[in-house]
Symmetry: C2
Subunit: 509 residues, 2 copies
């Protein structure tokens, strides 16, 4: 069977991913090392993510603010683990002016900064400094804030959306009067991410705690949501950190409690980024391109008139625009439905395949015959072909289609989620009791083996480093200890000691 | 009469401005040179601006995208005027890693970039490079895009919102097949800005063309909207540039036209920034703090229960929350009304004055007596005092207040706009026919003189430089040539030649 992309997932998953990013007009190389241009269709998906996640962040009591892009070096020096974690990937501003020299531009030596500025890789230090001004008494707590921003982490090998030098994200930062409250906040936001991934992105995830060696630099505990890509690899799609009092000490976030005693606050931070879009592509895409869950599709229904550059085109366009208006007056997922007419002067077949590649959930082609019969011809992007391998487009009375459109979008959303959920469930192997079994699973598991769920004793320090090294030799990492896993049983796969929890292990992006 | 701020506009306008920014919780110094922290209330205003302006940008056919923060030096070198205009204020990234040295962190000399990167001061060059990839044929035109982003221009003297090293803005960039179409686009967006400022910000502005010497570096024509602050100074609140083919030549944006000929595209760019918030403060603020137009107020109605830390508080809070729910079910300005209850454990009077300083359009105080009588006590922020100088709060039946709330907000919006429009109209002096008259006006015009409208011959080059120098000596600049000014008459105030248009001259931020 011929497909719209020149490479299939089976042939070369990495090349397929790049093909989707490019053919679906999601993003492109910018010419600036490690930075991408997010094109309108890709940015439209990000706008949908922002809009929907922002609602959830506000509903849980957080306010948005904005903090500086630049952070003085000295702010970083205060939290030792934090700086160790980020120093190797920081972009550093050293000058504030250019001058012409021998016909080219160079940083002006007279405009060298006394203290270099780091372009934020994350904002705990600069936001913590603000918290130290804002928080004096228990009455000022909790502080619950979020920002939508760009951040920079210098990457040597980049992949669009998944790992770029600059990326877009939201970072939440909170301060609390007690450990319990801060832990509860960390888990609340983890659950917001889990729910958002499942409901909005139709992307099933497993929420759990990261092992000690995978914690955010400076955190006491890091939680993640992990999604399974179609190549069986894991994608960490969001993290939530309990920072204990580490940053409060470093940034001096202190308050007077109800009893008049001074104490350090307890802080958290949590974020998701444009990386999520990479996850959507690798969870839902197929060999014809992207398939977007309707909830996050910039356009849910695209109407393609089969224009012939003839006077009759006008009537056809009117018919299409009327249908779009009727659709846009409907509600889908509690919001106005999003339908548009692609009236470009391009061949209808080219437009159809463009929208297939971009993953518009419903593509409606309308020609003269449809107009005459009062019909529309509908193509579901998630079920493109019939059993015979032919395009499964179906003529339907216009009124019926409009009346059923919202339900159809519901069905597509549920169907994409169900498909991905079934894949995740089917590709986690349980019951392996020793490391040989782990090795055999990833050796014999085929091209896209999936993950294993293992019982372990939660070793720490050097014992954990040994585990990590054994796994790394197989290109594996511990993803997380799922919060809803069954109780541990038997012996630790790594140490033989009694197991205390279950962890997921797999290859990862 | 005593006011909520410690300094009045009359006493010290600059100090008053800083007091409002601070007391209204809009923004604060960040500790990072020239960069501010935008606090939740200030960022809430920006979110309203983004939401409403974004709708207008999309309605006029533009799509949002995202382009890199970093721009290679070589991109700038291609447009000579452009680089001259910005080279002196560019933050330059020269290293991508830090290392520890003698116990402190320093940029790692082994991680020096081969080509330094500029933190974008504006994105014509990097977006133009993308356009050159996107545009091949007339069918690819027009390209109509926009991005919401942070930009950096190194400033020596900064003022919150008005002039900061980093600021937030939107920048639109378009490419067209013809000069006429690009000019039309430039003027369409100027009008979008004018309408937005008037309707959303209740900020009257004058739209017109900048003189040659005030053009955007590399532009063929620059248009602006200019607002009058309460100290009579002008604030340039938005600009729209017709770039001709200058950037198309520099970035090689070429297309094949319908006749098969190759031609350079015609481009435009246009932007507004967080500076607008400074304008809102200086147009609408009074000696009690900020007054926010309801359309852009993060909360339009704030309900302050007079809590006494007694069991009765619960009934009072329920009453307040019911009212807020009823209000939030109303529509104001075509959107759901925004009302909230301030249930903080702070004295009611303190909370009232906090909301006065923040400029919430309606403040509703509710005590036990109101609850018993089924009343609310309402304070209009735009008419805080009665004729006797007492707080003009007024008791009203709850149901009446709810039924009339949206109309009341309409009235506040119109009233703020009307007040500012009357001030603008009253403070533009026409009929001055020679430069002595200009000098006299600004010498004798009192503390806040306003602007003059002058007939001029539109000199260029050195003649314009002379005009500029004479004005600068009086701390004056040409703001713009209003598009809706009366036809020119008489002689040029500067050169004596026959006048060809009218210009506005004033002091400016």
């Amino acid at each position: 069977m011929k497909h719209a992309l020149s490479v299939t997932r089976e042939q070369d998953f990495a090349a397929w991913y790049q093909a989707v990013v490019s053919e679906a007009d999601m993003a492109e190389e910018s010419g600036v090392r490690g930075c991408m241009v997010i094109r309108p269709w890709g940015y439209g998906v990000w706008e949908r993510i922002q809009y929907l996640l922002n609602q959830r962040i506000k509903q849980t009591g957080h306010d948005n603010c904005y903090f500086p892009l630049f952070i003085p070096l000295s702010y970083f020096a205060k939290e030792a683990e934090h700086v160790d974690g980020f120093a190797k990937e920081m972009a550093v501003v050293t000058h504030h002016r250019l001058k012409a020299e021998n016909g080219t531009l160079v940083p002006d030596p007279d405009a060298r900064l006394e203290e270099p500025l780091v372009v934020r890789p994350t904002s705990e230090t600069v936001i913590g400094t603000a918290f130290s001004r804002w928080v004096q008494s228990w009455r000022d707590l909790p502080v619950l804030i979020n920002q939508w921003a760009n951040v920079v982490r210098w990457e040597m090998r980049t992949r669009m959306f998944l790992r770029t030098t600059e990326f877009l994200w939201q970072e939440g930062h909170t301060a609390h009067a007690s450990r319990d409250e801060a832990v509860a906040e960390t888990l609340t936001m983890l659950d917001v991410y889990r729910d958002f991934a499942e409901q909005a992105l139709a992307m099933p995830v497993i929420a759990g705690e990261k092992p000690e060696n995978e914690r955010f630099p400076g955190a006491e505990a890091t939680y993640s949501i992990e999604a399974m890509m179609q190549d069986g690899k894991a994608l960490q799609a969001g993290t939530s950190h309990f920072l204990g009092q580490n940053f409060a000490r470093a940034q001096n976030i202190r308050f007077q409690d109800k009893e008049g005693e001074h104490a350090f606050a307890w802080t958290t931070s949590w974020g998701v980024s444009t990386r999520m879009i990479g996850g959507v592509i690798m969870v839902h895409g197929d060999d014809d391109g992207l398939r977007l869950p309707p909830v996050i599709a910039p356009q849910q229904i695209v109407i393609v008139p089969m224009l012939r550059d003839q006077p009759e085109d006008e009537a056809l366009l009117d018919y299409c625009r009327d249908i779009a208006d009727d659709l846009n007056a409907q509600t889908a997922f509690g919001e106005p439905l999003r339908a548009t007419v692609d009236a470009k002067a391009t061949k209808a077949a080219t437009k159809r395949w463009n929208w297939v590649k971009r993953g518009a959930p419903l593509i409606v082609e309308i020609g003269g015959r449809d107009l005459a019969a009062g019909n529309v011809t509908v193509l579901r992007r998630d079920r493109l072909y019939d059993d015979a391998g032919k395009l499964a487009s179906r003529a339907e009375a216009r009124a019926d289609f409009i009346a059923g459109a919202a339900a159809l979008l519901d069905d597509i959303q549920a169907s994409l989620h169900g498909e991905a959920r079934a894949r995740l469930n089917a590709n986690i192997r349980r019951g392996i009791t020793d490391f040989d079994g782990v090795e055999a699973f990833f050796r014999d598991g085929g091209k896209f083996p999936g993950w294993v769920e293992l019982n372990w004793a939660r070793p720490t320090g050097q014992a954990l480093e040994k585990v990590d090294a054994r796994l790394k030799a197989l290109k594996l990492t511990i993803r997380n200890a799922p919060r809803d896993a069954a109780p541990a049983e038997g012996a630790c796969v790594f140490t033989g000691e009694p197991a205390v929890e279950r962890i997921l292990v797999g290859r990862a992006y």
